[in-house]
Amino acid sequence: MPDPITQIIQLVTSTYFLEIVVFPGLISIAILGAFFTWFERKLTARVQLRIGPSYSSPAGGILQGFADIIKLLFKELIIPEGADRFFFIMSPVTALIIGAALLGLIPFAPGVQIANVEVGLPAFLAIVTLSPTLVLLAGWSANSKFPFIGGLRALFQQTAYEIPLWLSALGVVMITGTLNLTGIVQFQQNNGWLILPQALGALLFIVTSTAEMERLPFDLPEAESEIMMGWQAEYPGPLFMLVQGPAFIKLYAFAALFSTLYLGGYLGPAIIPPIVWFFLKTIVIIVAVMLFRSTFPRVRLDQLLRQGWTTLLTLSIVNIVIAYFIVVGVPAI
């Protein structure tokens, strides 16, 4: 048998394949996505003293996300006149792949990790930098005014908040001395969670990653009250579902990265298994980010960019200085 075919067969028949398909991989992402869509709507509704989705099942409409998926799947695919079909379809597809590749880098529990890359943290952040390109292409391809404005806004916003994000993560690298995400968790096993020495860094990280996720205080690219969902405006039902997928995966992946970097990942007392600890921490972060959405009003684009390049950049440099003194000034913390 030729060698490549053997390799493919070996790949398909391994437990690794199961990992991709079932647990950290696709099916669990889809189920969690549908669940959190419902959860976010319910939470926002309760904050605003509304009831929220309640019809889809007895338990408070918990199946609403699945109902939405089924509804969107059976919509007609309309591609607007003059749109660039290739980029119009390929950018959400590629964005979904990129989002899933983010989750492959996260250590969910000891050994439960799809790709234990030596440079896990920069690889994660580098994959995140791919998304402005795709959003810009998606906005451009629709040949319509709102999507193009949204795509350009996404470009400016995500590039402006990229640098404070990198620099806040730099503090963690300075203290742990490794770029490997599993290595960072193991460091915290011996030295305590990094949220204590890196409190400023953690705050910066969550603010900038909210901007990267385009969620509500920073959701200018899809501001539904001014530019009609921005770059997503022209997407028909099934493709709109594909566009919403990466948005959720990014939230999930950033929350998972936050708990890996600052909250000790899967560490915790051995009463409950590590993976439950991991999900508890991740869900706390997800709920916090969802509460941002129902708490803060949207900012303006020029204020957003200016603050990103002045306040946040200054604070992240202050954070680097703090990390520097922790490592060099006080030997062996």
Binding site: F87, V117, V119, T129
Partner: protein, 164 residues
């Protein structure tokens, strides 16, 4: 033996490099250039230079391709592709490309450089920062001057009012 991953990455890289130059629409060209860079990052990962690979993605695709796309979308409508002018230089180029491809062919058929393996476990990061700071500190300072000059120069060039 030929590694499947390598073969796929090399094919994608070379094909999209050709596409980047030959695609009629410049936006497609820029996107193809991005895919070339991505394939190159994959080749870096195969060579155990994962740090360089990660920053290849971040700097080239995250920054350079975005800037290229922005410029293409800005100037593209008023651009119009000028027709190819192959007559003058085609012979020279054809010869040169043939020469290079010939070199490539003879390289692959010649006695192979041994492919070093068993580099698992992060040998790619050993003393990267130490080498950078201790041996290449002075070039680093010059590079910061280059960065400063690039920011100031590019902004001054792109600025709209040109009174001075």
């Amino acid at each position: 033996m030929t590694d499947l991953t390598f073969l796929a990455l090399a094919t994608v890289t070379v094909a999209s490099a050709i596409l980047a130059l030959e695609a009629r629409d410049l936006v497609y060209g820029a996107a193809a250039l991005g895919i070339t860079f991505l394939g190159m990052a994959g080749l870096f990962f195969l060579l155990d230079a994962s740090y360089v690979g990660a920053f290849q993605i971040a700097v080239y695709i995250g920054a350079v391709v975005v800037l290229i796309l922005f410029t293409v979308m800005l100037v593209g409508p008023q651009l119009g592709e000028p027709p190819l002018e192959l007559r003058r230089l085609s012979l020279l180029t054809a010869l040169l490309v043939a020469l290079l491809l010939g070199t490539a062919g003879s390289l692959t058929s010649a006695a192979a450089f041994p492919g070093p393996d068993n580099c698992g476990g992060g040998c790619d990061l050993t003393r990267l920062g130490t080498t950078l700071i201790n041996q290449y500190g002075v070039p680093l300072e010059f590079l910061s001057l280059v960065l400063a000059a690039a920011v100031i120069g590019a902004l001054t060039l792109a600025k709209a009012d040109r009174k001075g």
